[in-house]
Amino acid sequence: MKPSAFRYVVPADLQSAVHARAANYDSAVLSGGQSLIPTMNFRLSHPDVVIDLRLLDELDYVRTDPSYVRVGAMTRQRTLEFDDSAYRANPLIRQTLQNVAHPVIRNRGTVGGSLAHADPAAELPCLITTLRGELVAHGLDGPRKIPAADFFQFIFTTALEPDELLVEAAFPVLDPGEGWAFCEFARRHGDFALSAVACTVKIGPGGAIQRARLGACGIASTPVVLAECEALLVGNKPSEELFAEVARQAVSSIEATDEPEAQRRYRRHLLDGLVRRALEQAIQRTGARV
């Protein structure tokens, strides 16, 4: 479990980092190292060059504007978790992060690293996808915005070009009174989710659901927006029956795998329950009743 030999580059600013990336076809970007280093030690990846972004303070920020919580790629997960302005603008961010790994790993792991890594069971990709957030890539030609829905393409695969860096993630803010919830199950605290569900709901003047966002991870090769579920919710008053119907619908989004039948059944049951729980919690936070 020792990596094979590599060259190590520590660019001083974004421009040099982008150039280093463009100049080295077989390079890996090192941000927090919490996923990259283990894969290198297992010799699952053998990059010729490792480009360490640790000097890029310009990518370490949390800025909240009326529409987005904008987070620099090198922001440590723990920094975002504790950021009060981000919490006020979108409390779901903090709750989601509390499900990512353990505090010591969040101390080093970065927001950009988690998103660029694109583990299909990871929480942050699920959150940004569910919220319809947006990512900013940066290559030789400058910055490029990518909607989250287009960013995550497959297991560990994103829309980033080989010569691009991820520089920013923009998480939409929540409306006043909007309810939210993140429900996850992992076998052990801090593990990647077996399944997790992110959810926001907004109740309209008549008591019916005006907007609903619902997404899940751990059920397919990318994080998934449960669009049919959202459609079922909107225009209806929250009720146990409605949530049960939505949960049944969600289960049909689980991608088929070769796991044993018992495990498959369990996954369906789990997602069904998590969806119902997330909806109940989110509705409770709107102040409405089921």
């Binding site: 479990m1 297992f42 052990r188 605290h189 593990d191 018992a262 059944r265 049951h269 789990l270």
Partner: protein, 800 residues
């Protein structure tokens, strides 16, 4: 006055160093110019080796040598079968490096030695091994059926050993039973996963010709024996040191591992120290494993729930080889009747080869399996007869007055008859029942059910034959210059706190504080009589040896001091590092002075020594300075050999809640009542119990080596092999009871494995209780998982 330290909650002497990161593990041993090794391991569970091409690896810059079996000369031999037994009809062990065929994924095929581990791993990847894969059967029941692929082509039905033991007349008991309960249970494969993996470093001293090996082992003396034999060296020229060892839990009792042969060999041939530190990925496929057994157990009972007969037939998975003999299976087979009288027993097992990592004892060593079988069966019997789970156990306990209780005909893993020495089982179970507050729980369970919540209460009783022989020794010596007391044994410690418990035992005799007693273990250069640390035996066997030694050392001090102080030995006492005339106030001497005086000197190298020279007045006597039959110094050595195992026991109980969505278990209350005889240090005992429960909980709900039907281990990392974190291990209440063992001077019994044994049984019992009202089928295999619990809920007969 020094207060008695045996039995006190003394803080551990070892913690200061370890917590400050000052521990010295094998990898921390500074060896200038050391080379580093890496193994090439088989990716196939079973294959013929067609060819091995090492040329590219050997040519890689920084590589010193690439070994295959062809380079081993006289060491290209099968490794020993350490514990032979007549029932092992087809014993197979492996070569240090595979010899034409590999029998499990992970088996060592080649060994690369290079400037550093990075280079060694680069080169290992360049060794080109061509394999011809062979068919495998991973299921231990199908493996014994005719036509199943064979692990060893000359071992029919993959059966290594088969053994039947009988006590009483089971057949007659079953013939006259009112009721027979029969179940099949399974415990699955796991790994001990010590924090420090295996590790070996070696240096040959070109000048003295001495080989020094540092090893993360539980048995330096055993390993020295093997190395002396293999390398044909006098024992004097081989020194094995187990420095700080980061956990063992059993697998480090096995020796020699390939690395323990390859590292010394390379050090000799390359004239450089060599180190090999196993990484976690390797540990999952190299260090021995344990646990898979399938039991078919039948109980013959009277209608009021008295078990009059037990029949158990089980299959034990021994992996690809059987280097440690039938130890695990034998312990399981002789523990099967547990705390119950059951006068008629017939137990039969087969040890079956599978193309997997070899199986040797792991904390519990067959006892968790046996416990799961008997406790699941007792719960089942209780249910079938409509008797409460606590009550059915009470009706079957061996009562205190029937000890010693022998199970004639059953031979334990120490080769001696099963004879249980003492116990107050009912008192123990009652303490558990009270701590669980069963009536209050039933009310809570009822109320919770109305809210759709699922609660359950589980319990299990266990016994553990501990303190196996053959023997251990101790040495106590008072240093003449500093007066410090040194204690040595042939054991090792991997976290059990020997530096504290041995010190407590000695401190009481020598009148000092236990923090002043220095314990040195695990170094054949210091003390080389004894066996090893395993089977919850250290406190019993070495503890008593050290106790006897300390008494002898105390007598020596009293003798010498009596002369010095011109008083009778009986008028003297020891306290605060001094020996003094009782009631005299000042008349006394320090231990340093006594030790100095006990050693006739020629040279007055310090002030105290001046009084001990041949010419000092105090030394004047008619005879020789050292009278015939006397030895210089305060130094004693004694041994203890137990007549047979001493049987510890206890009861665990749990109150759990099952989340209906995740099907996860939340343990709301976990109670351990245990009795390990007289306690040397309750603080250390609680640590042992808690650690054991953590490991047991892993075995109940988390830890499972996932070998696919193709024989490939699918979860060889801590990402996928779920060892519970501190956040998963339940909080627990530990209740101590003390029933002394009558068969050793200290009255102690072992505690090292106790915590692990009944946890799967307890959790299974709690899950059964939780799901009983739904009519779910009872738990029959561990580890459980949320998916397994969900499946049980699905199979319920009563709609939710």
């Amino acid at each position: 006055m020094s207060t008695r330290q045996f039995g006190e909650r003394v803080q551990r002497n070892e913690d200061d160093r370890l917590i400050r990161g000052q521990g010295r593990f094998v990898d921390d041993i500074p060896l200038e110019g050391a080379l580093h090794g890496a193994f090439v391991r088989s990716p196939h569970p079973h294959a013929r080796i067609v060819s091995i091409d090492t040329s590219a690896a050997a040519a890689y810059p920084g590589v010193h040598k690439v070994y295959t079996h062809e380079d081993l000369g006289p060491l290209d031999v099968l490794m020993p079968l350490l514990i032979p037994h007549p029932c092992i009809t087809h014993g197979r062990t492996q070569y240090p490096l595979a010899h034409g065929e590999v029998f499990y994924g992970g088996q060592a095929v080649a060994f690369v030695v290079a400037d550093d581990r990075y280079t060694a791993e680069d080169a290992a990847a360049l060794v080109d091994v061509r394999y011809e894969p062979l068919p495998v059967e991973i299921d231990i029941e199908r493996a014994t059926e005719g036509g199943a692929p064979l692990v060893h082509s000359d071992v029919p039905n993959n059966v290594a050993a088969q053994f039947v033991q009988r006590s009483g007349d089971a057949e007659a008991a079953f013939a006259k039973a009112d009721h027979i309960t029969s179940i099949r249970v399974q415990v699955d494969r796991s790994t001990a996963a010590p924090m420090e993996c295996l590790a070996t470093a070696a240096r040959w001293d070109e000048v003295s010709g001495e080989l020094t090996v540092w090893a993360a082992t539980q048995t330096p003396i055993g390993l020295r024996g093997a190395l002396s034999s293999l390398f044909e060296l006098d024992e004097n020229y081989v020194r094995v040191i187990a420095p700080d060892v980061g956990g063992g839990f059993g697998p480090k009792i096995l020796f020699p591992y390939s690395n323990e042969i390859m590292v010394p060999l390379a050090a000799r041939e390359l004239h450089r120290p060599v180190k090999w530190i196993e990484d976690r990925g390797e540990n999952f496929v190299n260090m021995s494993q344990e646990r898979t057994q399938i039991h078919y157990i039948d109980l013959a009972a009277t209608s009021d729930g008295r078990v009059i007969g037990l029949r158990d037939r089980f299959i034990h998975d021994t992996g690809a080889f059987i280097p440690y003999g039938i130890a695990v299976a034998q312990v399981a087979s002789t523990s099967i009747a547990s705390s119950y009288r059951i006068p008629n027993i017939e137990v039969e097992f087969s040890c079956v080869y599978t193309p997997t990592v070899p199986v040797t004892p792991y904390r519990g060593c067959g006892r968790p399996h046996a416990n799961f079988a008997i406790e699941r069966a007792m719960d089942q019997l209780a249910q079938e007869l409509g008797i409460d789970r606590f009550e059915i156990r009470r009706r079957n306990f061996i009562p205190p007055e029937e000890f010693p209780y022998a199970r004639e005909g059953l031979i334990f893993a120490d080769g001696l008859p099963v004879k249980m020495d003492s116990g107050e089982y009912d008192r123990c179970l009652t303490a558990l029942e009270e701590a669980l507050d069963v009536p209050a729980f039933r009310a809570e369970q009822e109320a919770a059910r109305a809210q759709g919540r699922i609660l359950g209460l589980g319990m299990a009783f266990y016994v553990e034959g501990t303190g196996l022989g053959p023997y251990e020794g101790g040495q106590v010596r008072v240093h003449p210059i500093t007066g410090k007391i040194f204690v040595n044994t042939g054991l090792t410690t991997q976290g059990q706190g020997h530096k504290t418990t041995w010190a407590q035992i000695v401190a009481d005799q020598m009148g000092v504080d236990s923090s002043e007693v220095i314990v040195v273990e695990g170094d054949t250069g210091v003390f080389d009589w004894g066996c090893a640390t395993f089977a919850s035996r250290s406190a019993v066997v070495a503890g008593n040896a050290i106790h006897k030694t300390a008494i002898k050392a105390r007598q020596m001090v009293l003798q010498v001091a009596a002369n010095m102080l011109e008083a009778g030995p009986d008028d003297l006492d020891l306290a605060d590092g001094r020996v003094f005339v009782r009631g005299s106030g000042d008349r006394g001497a320090t231990l340093a002075e006594v030790a100095t005086m006990s050693n006739p000197l020629r040279y007055a190298f310090n002030k105290a020594a001046a009084s001990a020279t041949q010419f000092a007045a105090a030394a004047s006597s008619d005879g020789p300075p050292l009278p015939d039959g006397k030895r210089p110094g305060i130094e004693a050595q004694e041994y203890f050999s137990p007549p047979h195992a001493t049987w510890a026991y206890g009861a665990h109980g749990a109150i759990i809640e099952i989340d209906p969505v995740t099907c996860n278990i939340d343990v709301r209350k976990y109670i351990c009542v245990h009795d390990c005889g007289k306690m040397i240090n309750p603080l250390i005992i609680e640590g042992q119990v808690a650690g054991g429960v953590a490991q047991g909980f892993g075995g109940a709900f988390y830890e499972h080596l996932d070998y696919g039907t193709d024989g490939v281990l699918k979860n060889a990392s801590f990402m996928e092999f779920l060892m519970p974190y501190a956040t998963e291990v339940p909080d627990m209440t530990i209740i101590h009871q003390e029933t002394p063992s009558p068969i050793n001077p200290l009255g102690v019994k072992g505690i090292g494995e106790a915590g692990t044994i009944p946890v799967p049984s307890t959790i299974a019992s709690a899950v059964d209780d939780a799901l009983a009202s739904m009519g779910a089928p009872p738990v029959r295999s561990v580890p459980l998982s949320p998916a397994a619990i969900f499946a049980a809920m699905q199979a319920s007969t009563v709609p939710a």
